[in-house]
Symmetry: C2
Subunit: 573 residues, 2 copies
């Protein structure tokens, strides 16, 4: 293959990865990266940890793992990649294979030729569509400069109150960043009915919301920002929502991001309705000389079989390698995404892969969900945390569709999600997960790991042995509607049940599971029963006993009292 | 289906699991578990943590996760399962479907009938074949009684020196248990050439050995125990090995375990040459009325396609559910094993799945190994540990064969191993792992996770771009043989390299990778070069540069100085 000139537009995660991979494969090719910012290959995903103080210096987000700063010189010397920073690509001419660029400081323009082009233009923060969104102190904090600005305001003590607009991943990360270390009084405003919309279903969302609220942060759902005003009062800004007025010194807009595709679009590349560049499995655009990946493309969702816009920084690294290999003359594919994610919200890890129950049902699938609460380590081992894990499955095909959960032990939770992700990629079944041979030792797992247990529970639900409701359904049915014919049957020991019985009186019956077989007579057959234990194991046992005795009026509560408490739905005793 | 009588021989992990699952599916069936010990469903795997003091009370190993003691009464009341403890099955008559049992205290015998039988007889510790193996103070510590005995000796201060015979998983767990908290001077005697034989290859074994030795424990390899003597000296015992005499107050035999199959064997069930009962995928023995699982069966290895004896407690739980379902009239299968394991050795987690490089090559596979050292979390995040992960792949088919590693962060390591295990079960390829969509966030992963990186490295090795040697090969080539024509080219910064240059002089050349492109002239072409950096990334970069310049005399060191130090091979600077 003759020496070629490869031009890469964008110096975020994808562009430099493509460049480095390609240079290792084709050392004699000329590879140039054009980036409009001053820095290159920064860890934008680390901004919340810089603002929180976990990362002390902004330089921490500009270094490679072996401490060298990822500067222009570093890429030129160590990687033999040419870098042009502060340079914006302003026009693409596919016919002549040229890109017009402009230096952001001098304004000087120049034309660069290419044999192959890579669009790594990434994404931009989705703006708030409301008056006042460009006032000083209203910021998205998605660049290092903005991050430094925010941290400076915080460290100078200029911020007593903050409003975060959007309760998606970045919104919650920024919430923790400003409120935890800096003690800023923080409110989150979310237009949807739950936090982390689209990423988790309501039961898990409630657990995350509870973690946020337990730190003194106010969470306002179903509420949108109408306007931001300057204020002459104690705080410099006022956020006007559909319900109220919130004073603030700092407003962070965290409404997600959208693909940055102007350059490709203006040159006639095919862009999807969702806005992302359309690529094939080799990550080529509609022009075979032009590749694209990362935040500016549309991906194929392996579970729905449909196009989707999903971006997560590590995708850029994997896609970058695929593009580098293909540019060099190789042929590898990137089959698609399943939507794996994780984030830290205060001291709670949240993670997931695949479809939520809601998303699966919207796709028309016969989806069911099982939620299990179980220890990360053997119950007798001294260090242990609970994992709350929901599995989503297809009732008809018995295929796995997704999993989402929370745990204070993020490493343990993410490990479980990743092992399920590997099965999702291979169209794994519930039985695959039930038999998944995960490694066991008391310090790191339970003898039957939660990934096996949650598969077993899902299978029991599908076969009809386990009839159950979620904590969200419990809240609606037992606490909100509170009709007389719905009672709880608590099968834990008397001491555990006592405060609940005291509170709910005749609506909360207590019969320990191990005594149940002698006490069927005490259980009403004319009421709807919700069986409850600590985590859902003994209530399932009790449910099977009742079903055998002809009770057809009982359901178990998924995750038991542990899930209720975690979701902040019922804090008794 | 008519009501049936199901008899289960063995009350370890498998038997009770079968019983409980079956009773939930067939509440009206009569299910009986016969167990020769006094306790049932104990967590034998927790014994090292009871001895170390991590688990304070022996009762901790006898409870369920919701704190109830797994007593006979518990199983009878909560599970409606009949339990006969202190009862041994002494004869099986398959013709009449009867088992003869004897009460261990009274000696009374009785005949129990069954419609279906389950052999859950587990395994027994492999004895030491040497005189003196039955002396007081020589113990296997595989029952709760023995564990209590050992802990009592330790807590009374009766044990100043201990010898552990066998450096397999249990041997190393017991080593940590007696030497860490109790400060016992401990020696491990292993007849093989490495610790954890068969579970890991030499590079990882050396890392584990280094962890053990760094705690002051002596490790004697290639050394077998000839005899154990009583001693009238300061210590009550003397262990005579092939090389020396080791004084001891306590000798723990940890030579693994073997299937306990007498009952089945005497009744004519088919047993494999390795000693395990042979079962089909439904876990039925050669008699369709008799099922078996757990420690007493032979398993099918999914990667070799051959029968294997592999036991790990969590298998019993998964197999128990399969047996319970099949007994009830269902039809589910247990396809086989891949050999997933983990253990904690002092503060180091060890884990693996699938085949080692050695095992794969013994199977005749064209196996290659890649070892990568990488952080568990983003390099800029304040809490992070290194993971040392080896991937074994097939050069011809590009299939994954196995993975093994160590890390101080066990949850993180086990999560990685489990995600690879899921791919191994589905005959995954290197490309599958390279693109595996693991979840990313700085507190829980790096932007390109080590599972992706190690797959990329393996692919680079197979394509020939990455030519490398392991730390074990480095030790042999550079330190032991130390021929003049082998030199190291250290591509780290001068400060990192200085102490190595000082030690090895002209055998250790330092040219930082970012300056390499100007300094090719300084690199000898007539010597064999070992390229070294911190963790293997920059040495790969340098290798590609050298290859391009026509150097065909260079290889990289897998895992770099980090791996050398972890393996205790070269502690400089």
């Amino acid at each position: 293959m003759a020496t070629e000139q490869v031009l890469i537009i964008g110096g975020g995660a994808l562009g430099p990865k493509v460049a480095c991979r390609l240079k290792r494969l084709r050392p004699d090719w000329e590879v140039t990266v054009v980036e409009q910012q001053e820095e290159i290959a920064c860890s934008i995903c680390g901004i919340p940890y810089y603002i929180s103080g976990d990362v002390a210096e902004i330089k921490g987000l500009m270094t490679a793992s072996f401490q060298m700063v990822r500067s222009r010189e570093f890429f030129e010397n160590a990687k033999d990649v040419r870098i042009r920073t502060k340079t914006r690509a302003i026009a693409l001419d596919r016919q002549s294979k040229q890109v017009r660029v402009r230096h952001m400081e001098t304004g000087a323009e120049e034309t660069l030729s290419y044999d192959k082009l890579v669009l790594a233009t990434g994404r931009r923060p989705r703006p708030l569509d409301a008056p006042g969104c460009d006032l000083p102190g209203v910021i998205s904090a998605t660049t290092l400069r903005q991050a430094e600005d925010v941290k400076q305001r915080l460290s100078k003590g200029d911020v007593a109150r903050a409003v975060i607009v959007g309760a998606g991943p970045r919104g919650l990360e920024m919430t923790a960043a400003v409120s935890d270390l800096w003690g800023v009084e923080t409110a989150v405003v979310e237009s949807g009915p739950q936090v982390l919309p689209d990423l988790v279903d309501l039961p898990v969302a409630r657990m995350v919301q509870q973690e946020v609220q337990s730190r003194g942060v106010q969470v306002f759902l179903n509420e949108s920002v109408r306007e931001i005003l300057t204020s002459s009062g104690e705080h410099s800004l006022e956020v006007v929502t559909s319900n109220q007025r919130l004073p603030a010194d700092l407003v962070i807009i965290a409404l997600g991001a959208e693909p940055r595709t102007e350059l490709g679009l203006s040159a006639g590349l095919v862009v999807s309705p969702s806005g992302g560049l359309i690529v094939n499995q080799r990550l080529q655009t509609s022009d075979p000389a032009i590749y694209a990946g990362g935040g500016c493309i549309e991906n194929f969702h392996l579970l729905t079989g449909k196009a989707t816009y999903f971006f997560e920084p590590s995708l850029a690294h994997r896609q970058g390698r695929v593009i580098g290999t293909n540019l060099s003359g190789g042929c590898v594919t990137f089959p698609g995404v399943i939507g794996s994610f994780t984030l830290k919200v205060f001291d709670l890890a949240v993670a997931g892969a695949g479809l939520t129950l809601g998303a699966a049902r919207r796709e028309g699938l016969a989806a069911e969900a099982a939620l299990v609460v179980q220890q990360d380590h053997a119950h007798f081992y001294p260090t242990q945390e609970l994992i709350y894990l929901q599995l989503v499955v297809d009732r008809n095909s018995k295929r796995l569709l997704g999993a989402q959960g929370v745990s204070p032990n993020g490493d343990a939770l993410v490990g479980r999600i990743n092992s399920i992700a590997a099965l999702l990629l291979h169209r794994g079944s519930i039985e695959d997960l039930a038999n998944l041979e995960v490694a066991y030792s008391p310090p790191y797992a339970t003898a039957l790991d939660i990934v096996n247990t949650v598969a077993n529970t899902a299978e029991n639900i599908i076969t009809g042995f386990n009839q159950s409701i979620s904590v969200a359904e419990f809240q609606h049915l037992f606490l909100e509607e509170a009709e007389d014919d719905v009672i709880c049957l608590d099968v834990r020991g008397a001491a555990n049940a006592a405060p609940f019985v005291a509170l709910f009186k005749e609506r909360w019956l207590n019969i320990p599971q191990e005594t149940l077989k002698h006490r069927f007579d005490e259980i009403p057959r004319d009421k709807r029963l919700i069986l409850i234990c600590n985590a859902g194991m003994r209530s399932y046992e009790a449910l099977r006993q009742l079903q055998t005795r002809g009770f057809d009026n009982a359901v178990g509560l998924q995750g038991g009292v542990a899930a209720l408490k975690k979701a902040g739905i019922l804090n008794v005793g």
